[in-house]
Amino acid sequence: MKISSFKQYIKLLFALSIISSLAGCSSLGVEPWEKDQFARADMALNNEKLDLALDDHIYFSKEGTSGGRSLAGGGCGCN
């Protein structure tokens, strides 16, 4: 009983923190004409996608965990 109410409390806290952080996001950011830096190719999140894909493959093959940055992109027998 106590545990389930504690879990509910945690869930509520989690939901509230997501809502408040999303609401907080609305005060962050810049005007459209201030986005010159984000138009740079090297600021794109997938700018070095081949390097990231190759790194992911190495670490996927050699370590016990993987992914995080994006969906892992499929499996192989290398693990």
């Binding site: 999303l22 996001c25 609305s26 962050l28 950011g29 810049v30 005007e31 459209p32 201030e34 986005k35 010159d36 830096q37 984000f38 740079r40 090297d42 600021m43 999140l45 070095e48 996608k49 081949l50 390097d51 894909a53 190759l54 493959h57 190495i58 670490y59 050699k62 370590e63 016990g64 965990t65 993987s66 992914g67 995080g68 940055r69 994006s70 969906l71 892992a72 992109g73 499929g74 499996g75 192989c76 027998g77 290398c78 693990n79």
Partner: protein, 432 residues
């Protein structure tokens, strides 16, 4: 043209340097390239000291259809050779192992970590992804994936949706993937924790083959993976953005490594045979990924942190950074640092004990044991005329496996049970 005098050599040099200078000047101007097609290609070498060597070629073609549609296609071909750790422990005497196929044996010298040298494979991977901007706020994508190697086939589908808010300063992304893998190991799938048999213990080939077959299961097996990822990307100010992702993954099916074994060790640390490993057939994974990326006056920098946890009790922390500095507008250098630390799966053990009853699950694969690893990398890139870019990088990667708290008996204390793995990565990339 044949050069007949010193004067013509001088004028030819002058012409050549002028053309080089004009090329430099044009590289700094925005070039009206053909935006419809974008091609990235790279070839990478990965080499471990005394172990696995791999060469991987990767090509990515992007084709835009109007303003709103984008097709992305990728091909990867890789080739692996060399030896990988079998899971057995080093001994003060030489050790002989039956190959996974059951055909032939290999011997490991005293004091050496047992490596299975039959590791050899070629893999081809194809994937395609379609992205469609529905309106200024909504973007969707759909993709297919396939990867084939001799003993493994992976087929997958993925889809995602993105919604922009707050003058495009905030993007929420939800994506999902489903993958079905088929495993058909060389020599068949070992019976869980069955004992390795040796040709020398049998009178004839038929008797040995019958004993070997008794340790194997018929046919192939499958593994299903369902992934869901929820992400938010937020522009913080004129120079900085951040990304936060939560990933959930549910895997069911065959996750045992059919080529990995464990030594059966007595109280003196002496080995009395080997057993094939066995892993659970379900795994639920969670990941949290945080990234901050900033535009600097003469470069770019990013920092990321990743936390992984799963119901195999593996927990991992990854810290990573890339820092790029432009020496000139067309030449940059980049530093890559990564640190990884992992806690062992609950069924990981470096060896089995002869006097203890067999557990349900066991693996001595150091890749799911306690481990830390680091990467140091350098990359240089040239921006060429016409929007082309040539880059090369070299990286050093070292893994330091550690004892997960297991008592080490007798003579095993004289062996290096957790040897480091050292690897070099070298890569050349070209984009146009």
């Amino acid at each position: 043209m044949q050069l007949t005098s010193k004067q013509s050599i001088a004028s030819a040099l002058a012409m050549a340097s002028c053309s080089l200078l004009s090329q430099q000047a044009s590289a700094q101007e925005p070039v009206p390239a053909n935006d419809d097609w974008k091609v990235d290609a790279a070839i990478m070498y990965y080499g471990e000291q005394d172990r696995v060597q791999a060469v991987e070629a990767i090509g990515n073609v992007q084709k835009a259809f109007g303003e709103d549609s984008l097709l992305d296609m990728k091909i990867v071909v890789d080739s692996l050779t060399g030896a990988s750790a079998s899971g057995a422990v080093a001994q003060s005497i030489s050790q002989t192992f039956t190959r996974p196929s059951g055909k032939g044996e290999y011997t490991v010298d005293p004091g050496e970590t047992p490596l299975d040298d039959t590791f050899q494979d070629t893999r081809v991977q194809l994937s395609a992804n379609w992205q469609e901007i529905l309106n200024p706020d909504w973007t969707v994508n759909l993709g297919v994936y396939g990867s084939k190697e001799y003993d493994y086939l992976s087929l997958g589908l993925n889809a995602g949706v993105e919604r922009s808010f707050n003058k495009n300063n905030t993007t929420l992304a939800l994506s999902g993937a489903y993958t079905n893998d088929t495993v058909d190991p060389v020599g068949g799938r070992p019976v869980a924790l069955s004992e390795m048999v040796f040709r020398g213990d049998y009178d004839g080939d038929d008797a040995f083959q019958a004993a070997f077959d008794a340790t194997r299961l018929d046919g192939d097996d499958t593994k299903q993976t369902a992934d869901v990822m929820l992400g938010v990307t937020q522009i913080l100010n004129r120079n900085w953005l951040m990304q936060a992702n939560y990933g959930f993954s549910s895997v069911s099916g065959y996750m045992t490594d059919p080529y990995k074994i464990l030594s059966m060790v007595d109280g003196n640390g002496e080995s009395h045979g080997y057993r094939y490993e066995n892993r659970p057939d379900s795994r639920t994974k969670h990941s949290v990924f945080l990234l901050a990326k900033g535009a600097l006056d003469s470069g770019v920098i990013d920092f990321s942190y990743r936390y992984n946890t799963d119901d195999w009790d593996i927990q991992a922390h990854t810290l990573e950074t890339h820092y790029r500095y432009y020496f000139t507008p067309s030449l940059y250098g980049q530093l890559h640092l990564r640190y990884y630390q992992q806690q062992a799966a609950d069924f990981y053990q470096p060896f089995l004990r002869t006097e203890v009853a067999l557990p349900e699950y066991a693996s001595a694969d150091y890749r799911i044991g306690d481990m830390s690893a680091y990467t140091v990398g350098l990359k240089f890139g040239h921006r060429l005329s016409g929007g082309h870019e040539l880059s090369y990088r070299i990286e050093y990667y070292q893994q330091n496996p550690e004892n997960n708290g297991t008592d080490i008996p007798g003579e095993l204390n004289n062996q290096d049970l957790f040897p480091s793995v050292k690897a070099i990565v070298a890569q050349i990339s070209y984009s146009f």
